[in-house]
């Protein structure tokens, strides 16, 4: 369950203003929609006046001249019919605007997410980011569609109705103005209570769901410790609280929503009738005016009822918007590049005294220095948490670092344009991530300039064509659910092809063979060898056998390089590397216990 941020009235005002600022680009369409809305209100208001004219000028006096009556009826029908069409387009326009606004908001959020640094993804669960992009914006859409438009409609109607009433009878219109403060009071009271009671109900519900989810997850523990009765009691307790909160809400809604508004409606009728009744003692009254006023009062209350029912949507939208804006204001961005024209040609990599920490407290890399000459392979080995992946994270510019520098062809990695780095460096991840689509689109990714031949060439190069050609649909074979229908080896081969298709100068392998089943390992190995040829390669190796031919092997321990050299040298020195080698090969004859 998502936490509900507590928002003060002031916060809500700021959020609402920011939401409304999204309307700006649509000024023209909104003006048009408002114009249509104005027309429908005029139609709504003029109709009763026509009927009033009919009643007073013709029906009461029982005079029915054909010409004027046909004119009257024609006008009435014309207004009614055009109103139907105008109000349809008006409603549609407002919905369109709301949809466009939400689309913009979604694109903004998604773009923002793409520009966030890896640190943000480390600390935020993926599910909650997705919620910001889709569900929260959906809640805001509901507000735009039903609340904001509802507010506008009732606002316009109230104004229109009052204008008509003032035209018909100033005194009575003034009297009915008394209704406004009463309605205002009811709305205000409702808002005051609902912000407490409704919020309370939502919190109880989220407690209830949290308790249920936790109990379901921990059911085996609850049963093992025989705590079923206690947990049942606890759950029932929360359930009861939730029920009580629900009852309070029903009570509040019953006292302040429709029944209350209907009561005010009756009050309005009483005002009308007493005014007309009392006036009728001294003056003649046009019956049509009574009809018109009664109709206006009727019209006036319906939208108010609707808006009141929807106030809770408004409340939820504000909460959702606060979360969306918080993400939009997030400052954990991707590292900055100084964007010089530096280019990567040879592919020489130098780490110079790099020290790095994720949290600013414990250093995960301490003073790392090494050089990978063009075309050479540098392998990183070490236990989990030794800092291997951090080296790659820095080289790939996933994280910003402050101490030391990383040079590529003599230039700081911070100096290159992001695109240059992405074009020239290819990273293969431990977990080959396949996207929804087909094999071809997974190799090409979004690079539309790549020809089909290039895609196939890349696949052939890494020897992925063998299995791809055996698929029923070949390169067009669908990839669903992250590629779970393929073996991890096959997925890795596709990822290889994807990397090779961009023909990088520098190859970065993050435990590319860690999750591979043994059958495919042989294929993968020979592909890897081919890929590495003529490219500077930084490889994290899970299996030491895969990096025996590396020019340089760095053995890391707790963020430091503790041993360096090639395979033979390291084995000969009988240090940590040697022990790892024994361990991997399951050699136990040699008793290491001193």
């Amino acid at each position: 369950m998502e936490e509900q941020p507590k928002l003060t009235g002031k916060d809500q005002g700021i959020i609402l203003r920011r939401l409304i600022s999204y309307l700006k680009p649509h000024k023209k369409v909104i003006t048009f929609a408002l114009f249509l809305l104005g027309l429908t209100v005029i139609g709504d208001v003029v109709g009763p006046i026509l009927i009033k004219t009919f009643i007073d000028d013709y029906l009461t006096v029982q005079n029915f001249p054909t010409g004027p009556l046909v004119g009257l009826a024609g006008a009435y029908l014309f207004i009614q019919i055009s109103n139907v069409f105008i109000s349809y387009f008006q409603l549609l326009k407002f919905q369109e605007i709301a949809l466009k606004i939400i689309q913009q908001m979604r694109i903004d959020v998604f773009t923002k997410v793409q520009n966030l640094g890896m640190r943000y993804f480390d600390k935020t669960p993926a599910g909650s980011i997705v919620s910001r992009v889709t569900n929260d914006t959906e809640a805001i859409k509901d507000m735009f569609v039903s609340v904001l438009v509802g507010f506008l409609q009732s606002g316009f109607l109230v104004v229109g109705v009052y204008i008509a009433m003032f035209i018909l009878n100033v005194k009575l219109a003034l009297v009915t103005l008394l209704l406004l403060p009463i309605l205002f009071m009811i709305i205000k009271t409702y808002r005051r209570y609902s912000s407490v009671f409704y919020q309370d109900l939502r919190e109880r519900l989220s407690q209830l769901n949290a308790k249920l989810a936790e109990s379901l997850q921990g059911m085996s523990m609850i049963q093992a410790f025989r705590q079923e009765p206690r947990l049942k009691d606890e759950f029932n307790d929360i359930n009861e609280q939730h029920w009580k909160a629900g009852k309070r809400n029903i009570k509040m809604d019953s006292l302040l929503l429709r029944p209350a508004i209907d009561l005010v409606y009756a009050l309005a009728l009483i005002m009308l009738l007493s005014y007309f009744g009392v006036t009728s003692f001294s003056n003649t009254i046009e019956v049509g005016v009574i009809y018109a006023f009664v109709t206006y009062i009727d019209r006036f209350f319906e939208p108010i009822n609707q808006v009141m029912q929807r106030l809770s949507i408004f409340q939820q939208a504000i909460v959702a918007a606060s979360r969306v804006f918080k993400l939009l204001d997030e400052e954990e961005l991707v590292p900055n590049q100084t964007n010089t024209d530096a280019r990567i040609d040879a592919g020489k990599i130098e780490f110079q005294n790099v020290t790095f920490s994720y949290d600013g407290q414990t250093d995960v890399l301490k003073n790392i220095s090494f050089t990978a000459n063009p075309g050479e392979t540098v392998a990183l080995v070490g236990h989990t948490g030794s800092g291997k992946s951090s080296i790659i994270n820095l080289l790939m510019r996933f994280y910003e670092f402050e101490q030391g520098d990383i040079l590529i062809d003599g230039q700081s990695v911070k100096a290159f344009k992001a695109q240059e780095l992405r074009d020239k460096m290819g990273l293969v991840l431990q977990d080959p991530f396949l996207f929804f689509g087909d094999i071809e689109s997974n190799i090409r990714l979004h690079n539309q300039n790549m020809t089909d031949e290039e895609v196939r060439a890349a696949a052939e190069f890494v020897q992925a064509d063998g299995f791809i050609n055996q698929l029923p649909e070949g390169y067009k074979q669908k990839v669903t659910e992250r590629g779970s229908t393929f073996s991890s080896g096959q997925r890795q081969l596709v990822a290889f092809a994807r990397t090779m298709a961009t023909d990088p100068k520098i190859l970065v392998l993050d435990e590319a063979t860690a999750n591979i089943d043994t059958e495919t390992e042989v294929a993968i190995q020979s592909s890897l060898e081919k890929m590495r040829q003529g490219r500077t390669t930084i490889a994290i190796a899970h299996r030491l056998s895969t990096i025996q031919d590396a020019e340089l092997i760095l053995v890391l321990h707790q963020g430091e390089v503790v041993e360096r050299g090639n395979h033979q040298q390291l084995l000969a020195s009988k240090g940590l590397y040697h022990k790892m080698y024994l361990l991997q090969n399951g050699i136990v004859e040699e008793t290491v216990k001193n």
Binding site: E96, Q217, S220, K232
Partner: protein, 584 residues
């Protein structure tokens, strides 16, 4: 409408509320007829100049009285009917929870927590809707609709009523038709939305790949396209959705127009008065709601039926491991004998255990080692009676474990699972999980035995610190030790540690094992582990491989044999060395 029958038991239970509530609804439907009538009378009297002050006051008082009565009655029927509906939700939720607590792990293997949650939330709220809004729309559309039509026909003019009602069925038909169209389009809109959701999900999970290939812009472009689709599909929905209001007002307008035109003719003919006509048009306004409500009713009932069926199916899931009538109600203690010929997990072809036989004397410690999937946890699950249906038998203190009352067996066993699950309550509450009223000293004692006491004292709120999603984040080792303390609180006859020392460092592990040895003299302990140091001291060690025992004996005996255990031991020594950076 069958769902109303299915929910009959509840309506019977809340007979009084529903009967009174429905009667009240009828009274309101009747009282609603008054204001238009009063307006009509007053208008006529004003027009004829016969209105007296007294009559006016009388009418107004009647109007005020009716309005007040309606306000009060509306409040009460809502409390009765909607109040009952939320009570139904509460009762069903309680039953579901109760049922969940009785379900065995087999059930939880089959069903995902997310699905169960959906039943307990969405389905419940649909049923609640049926018992509340469903009943309301059914009763209200029938009574209000009926009364209003009756009032129009009887008290004003039946001919005009017929004429004015001509367009109304068209409205019912059209809104129903739109509803169906909307349903389809809404489905597409939902699909587009879910594609967008999947896209966002995928991009966020694959963010590293996207960054690696510098494809942020292209990915955003992709997202924009999908969001265009969402807009398009939603505009399709809006195109139908926006039809409702104009259609309703067109139909009502048509009725209106007919009423005025024909009403005028009836007035001229002297069949009715102008006041009648005004009252008549007001009645027309009252008819709109019942017409619409009827359409909603089908929706609500449809959803309610499907949801209630799902909930009933869930509640009908049989409890597969239950006590027999003659279950032993005695303390479970003594020697443990395990003789399993074969055991398969439900819906699994492969045997998880095969020919596992051993005896564990009371007070002894058993160590079980083996790779992941070798069957260590399977043995424990059978001991805990989480699963039944194996060839062979297990006795504890001379009785089959199936003969004990579940409650008795479980109270003898302190279980520390592999995936240490802590509840979002205080640290103390987690440790005292099995006995919340235990004195705090006992909690301290258990925490000290599990060597977590010092750590807890360092938390900001000590033992009162809240654990879990919204509380402090604990390290894996801390969680494990709290789980151990939780099991030790029970002072269990049989303590089971299922690989629960894996995340604590070697020194702490040794200390915990020492304190177990010192305090658990007459009690039995079973420890499974990857790391041999955790079971080295055990009286008896069994080595599992692919579900069967391949070696058995004490540490010294097994080392002598130079078999699998010996090999594992050597490799682990080397591994420990590597982990420590090669230095001892």
């Amino acid at each position: 409408m069958k769902v109303f029958l299915d929910l009959g038991w509840f309506f019977k239970e809340r007979k009084k509320q529903y009967i009174v509530g429905i009667l009240m609804l009828m009274v309101v439907a009747f009282l609603q007829l008054l204001p238009p009538k009063i307006i009509g009378y007053v208008v006529d009297e004003i027009r004829l100049g016969t209105l007296t002050g007294e009559a006016l006051v009388k009418w107004l008082l009647l109007l005020a009285g009716a309005a007040l009565a309606m306000y009060i009655i509306r409040y009460y029927w809502r409390m009765m009917i909607f109040g009952s509906a939320i009570l139904l939700a509460r009762q069903l939720r309680e039953r579901l929870f109760q049922h969940f607590t009785r379900m065995s792990p087999r059930f939880y293997q089959k069903r995902r927590v997310g699905d169960l949650m959906a039943h307990a939330t969405n389905d419940l709220s649909a049923v609640q809707q049926t018992a509340g809004a469903g009943v309301l729309t059914l009763v209200d559309s029938l009574t209000t609709g009926g009364f209003v039509i009756a009032a129009m026909a009887i008290t004003i003019n039946w001919k005009l009523t017929l004429i004015a009602l001509i367009p109304m069925p068209i409205m019912a038909y059209l809104t129903n038709y739109y509803g169906k169209m909307l349903h389809n389009r809404f489905h597409f809109a939902q699909e587009a939305f879910s594609n967008l959701n999947d896209k966002a999900q995928e991009s966020i999970s694959g963010i590293k790949v996207i960054k690696t290939f510098g494809q942020e812009k292209e990915d955003i472009q992709d997202f924009v396209q999908l969001s265009d689709d969402v807009v398009e599909k939603n505009i399709h929905v809006a195109k139908v959705d926006s039809l409702f209001d104009p259609t309703i007002s067109a139909i009502v307008g048509a009725s209106f127009f007919l009423s005025i035109v024909f009403g005028a003719r009836f007035i001229v003919a002297g069949e009715m008065s102008i006041g009648d006509l005004i009252a008549f048009t007001a009645y027309l306004g009252l008819l709109v709601w019942p017409m619409l409500a009827f359409g909603w009713l089908f929706n609500i009932v449809e959803r309610g039926r499907a949801s209630y069926d799902r909930i009933r199916a869930l509640l009908a899931e049989p409890i597969d491991i239950d006590d027999t009538e003659q279950a032993l109600d005695v303390k479970a203690q003594g020697d443990l004998e395990v003789h399993i010929d074969e055991f398969k997990f439900p819906e699994d072809e492969r045997a998880a255990l095969k020919n596992v036989h051993f005896t564990l004397k009371r007070g002894e410690t058993l160590g079980i080692v083996g790779k992941t999937g070798s069957g260590k946890t399977a043995i424990l699950k059978l001991l805990l009676r989480e699963f039944e249906g194996y060839d062979g038998w297990i006795t504890y203190g001379g009785h089959s474990i199936n003969a004990y009352k579940k409650e008795r067996l479980r109270s003898a066993i302190g279980y520390v699972p592999q995936d240490h699950f802590l509840f979002s309550t205080t640290v103390a509450g987690n440790i005292a999980f099995a006995n919340t009223s235990a004195p705090i000293e006992e909690v301290y004692e258990a925490a000290q035995l599990a060597h977590i006491h010092e750590d807890i004292l360092k938390f900001t709120n000590g033992y009162e610190t809240i654990v879990g999603e919204r509380g402090v984040s604990l390290s894996g080792g801390q969680k494990q030790r709290i789980s151990i303390a939780r099991a030790l609180m029970m002072k269990p006859e049989l303590l089971i540690l299922d690989d629960s020392l894996s995340a604590v460092d070697a020194r702490t592990e040794e200390a915990i094992l020492e304190s177990l040895k010192a305090t658990r003299i007459d009690e039995t302990t079973i420890i499974t582990a990857h790391r041999l140091s955790a079971i080295q001291h055990a009286h008896q060690i069994i080595v599992l491989h692919e579900g069967t025992i391949v070696e058995k004996g004490s540490h010294e005996e097994l080392m002598e044999r130079k078999g699998r255990y010996y090999e594992m031991y050597q490799l682990q020594q080397l591994e420990a060395l590597v982990e420590m950076g090669g230095e001892v």
